[in-house]
Symmetry: C2
Subunit: 475 residues, 2 copies
């Protein structure tokens, strides 16, 4: 062998060996993380308390306040370097009395149907609202009908989720506009109320709430908006075909109560090499009020807490500062996510990675990444590390609502969202059946371990934007 | 370009184009299959009837008989080319009265615990069985204790499932010996009874039954064997540490009733090119008696029926004869599986592929294949076709119990088992909570579509053993 070749060969062997040793090391750490999560995990017990002892946590509610106090105390017990509350003003909306609704057919024959107010909706008058119904499959169809066919009526948006789509979040995305903007658009055409088909694949009796907006409509123009169960929607649709002149009645006493102070809950393990570079893992602490918010997003909250606990439990000391952030008010305002990004910017805290879990506590399948090619390719090189845990789905796309605001203020930040199996998620989402019993312990724990493994790998191999590359600060 | 190069190039383009067109064609067919399953699927309604109207289907029971009659009628309605019953003798075992058990501490303080007889167990005497307990973690430990520590006692097998394993079937495999052979081994050492920790990850109040065997022990030596819930097992173990002299009491009136006639239910779409080459898709029609057997194996039954319905619905005419086989008696005898293989051999019916779904109705993740390299590599070349449906797990290993007997009598047969997400499966398996409400419609349908797609691809691309390759028989 000539000298040049020999040198090349030597370098190749050294690099190869080191890469191999590195991969082996990572594989051992990842295995430790999963073992700890599956055998001594804390997430399920945490979720039990959050769901069954505290319960629903709508922004501004007593439940939300208790969740803030309790998660802060639990993070303090976990022995993090810092734990604190970040004040944030949030909208407070209350449901009031249980809603009532019925279809009124010929000879005043009445059939009750399950509805619930959409979050942010105004109430009906105290005697309720009774009117004819016009059924549409979406906002476009409504606009085509025009004012003459809509004025004085209740608009019934009945576009179902598309069952053909394999990823249910895509089907959700294809329906949610009628819930969010349906009332605003109907009000502009003189409608007196809005009833929206619940956004779920399941044909059942549960209405699913969710956020809606009147945009800049003046208060006097706002009309009450409710979700109807899918069985109720099917019945109403059939009834309308038989008798287009039927009346629909509903009564809601929900109310917007202005703004109140609440908090993001934050805990930190300070980085050993780059203490001023931050990685965030989080979920949102608020939930809708109908169930106990176990999947949305109790699961994400306890998994995020567990990420930091797992790091300590396996004895891993992160190079960058790792924060768990439990965001307030994702559901009806995103105030917590905005506040966190705003303060981070004001303090000059450079964030390089953020991961959110807000897609339910089901078996994790992978992550969706909002990042550049360099980091996405880096992630793809970790596939074999995740394979033993059946984590295979590494896509590009959205990440999470709460971490989204960090993007505008942190050049080159890598954003990621945990992607669990999505088939059952919308059965429970925003409904009274989003409860603890629908969460499986192992599935929840696998999610926490998968998130922790990703944070560990990012902490070691993230490709920083060129201008952020700097020497480690030795403490 | 010289002539040789040009020819090579032309061939490459033609082959490339044809392969591309083929792949595109396959991709369209697979999409059709999933769309039909998810939007007009029949499997969930079938399972509703099988679970909620018929219920549990232990071999020899009225439920099993009704399931035979009903599935045959449904397959006939589906317009297959042939539907028939294949008689098979099966063991009949009945549970009798609900079991009772308690731990008897000091001062005769009694704590009830949930147990159930293991399938095939003999009864206790009618006054019940009361004895001291020796706890072991497995058969090896029992043998090491020897007769002097076991004689006259109840042996309590308490080895839990290993939570570290990601694939729960591996953890099941690591525990099930104490359930299957525990009584036989304990009886040999003079034990008077056996209590086995339920094989589930969940810590709850449900005992999980399952098959057991006394081997060739004479009837006089057989001792009653029961499963205890995991909470009961934990309580018993703790109680034994506090008081090793405690007594355990249980009473069971189960009974072996000899053999009765039952049936495999078989339907066929006759192949257009190779009518005498068979592909089988199946699950087992019998179930344990505690729940309604929705996951084990109602799901596999209706998914297998759906495979043939889907083929007809999308207008696909298989080249080989495709049979759905609903096997009787998988749970406590495997008589159906053995009978089917035996008759196929006697009739000279050459089977080239068999697929079983018997791992629950959860989100499908892939398949396990028992096959040679040629066919496994062929399967791996289909990965991209399955990717849009998040089917990613193509491993080698076991397939299914019922189709196993075909291996010995069909040289080169490819065997496969559907591999759904396994995290929740053992929570329900063989317990009173294996019920319809634990099955999700979309997950079940995705499984049926995934199976159908595999059968479609096998029908087109299976690599037959050299000696089976023959010209198509044009009908």
């Amino acid at each position: 062998m000539n000298k040049v070749l020999k040198n090349i060969f030597t370098v190749a062997v050294v690099v190869g060996t080191s890469a191999f040793a590195k991969a082996q090391n990572d594989s051992i750490t990842v295995r430790k993380i999963y073992t700890e999560a599956l055998t001594k995990g804390q997430s399920y017990q945490w979720l039990d308390y959050l769901s069954n002892d505290i319960g629903s946590r709508l922004s501004g509610s007593l439940g939300a306040e208790r969740a803030v106090t309790w998660t802060k105390a639990e993070l303090e017990k976990a022995g993090l370097d810092k734990v604190w509350l970040q004040p944030v003003m949030v909208p407070k909306w209350v449901r009031g009395e249980a809603e009532r609704a019925h279809i009124e057919g010929e000879n005043a024959r009445i059939t009750s149907v399950p509805i619930c107010a959409l979050g942010g909706s105004v109430a009906t008058k105290s005697v309720g609202l009774r009117a004819n119904v016009v059924e549409v499959m979406g906002i476009e169809e409504l606009k085509a009908l025009g004012e003459e066919n809509v004025k004085g009526k209740i608009v019934f948006y009945n576009r179902p989720m598309n069952d053909e789509l394999i990823r249910t979040f895509q089907a959700y995305g294809g329906c949610v506009d009628q819930r969010y903007a349906g009332a605003m658009e109907a009000a502009k055409l003189g409608a007196v109320g809005v009833i929206v088909r619940s956004v779920t694949h399941s044909i059942d009796d549960y209405p699913h709430t969710g956020s809606m907006s009147y945009g800049d409509l003046p208060i006097s123009k706002r009309i009450p908006a409710a979700a109807i169960s899918t069985k109720g929607a099917n019945l109403l649709s059939t009834s309308l075909k038989l008798n287009p002149e039927l009346k629909f009645f509903y009564k809601m006493s929900c109310k917007n109560m202005g703004e109140v102070e609440s908090y993001n809950v934050i805990g930190e393990i300070t980085g050993s090499e780059f203490p001023n570079k931050y990685m965030v893992v989080g979920g949102h602490l608020d939930s809708w009020d109908l169930g106990d918010g176990s999947h949305d997003d109790g699961a994400g909250v306890v998994q995020s807490m567990e990420v930091l606990r797992l790091m300590k439990a396996v004895g891993y000391k992160p190079k960058h500062s790792i924060r768990v952030v439990l965001f307030m008010n994702e559901e009806n305002g995103l105030r917590g996510g905005r506040k966190y990004a705003e303060e981070a910017k004001a303090k000059g805290e450079q964030h390089i990675f953020a991961l959110e879990s807000d897609s339910g506590g089901f078996t994790p399948r992978g992550f969706s990444f909002d990042t550049d090619d360099r980091n996405y390719n880096e992630v793809l090189s970790w596939k074999s590390l995740f394979e033993p845990y059946l984590i295979h789905d590494f896509t590009r796309g959205g990440s999470g609502a709460d971490i989204g605001p960090l993007k505008a203020t942190n050049d080159g930040i890598v954003l990621a969202g945990l992607r669990p199996d999505s088939q059952r998620y919308f059965d429970h989402h925003h409904a009274a059946i989003d409860t603890f019993d629908a969460v499986n312990k192992r599935e929840l724990e696998l999610g926490a371990a998968t998130m922790t493994s990703l944070v560990y790998l990012m902490d070691n191999y993230i490709q920083k934007p060129a201008k952020l590359i700097q020497a480690p600060i030795k403490q």
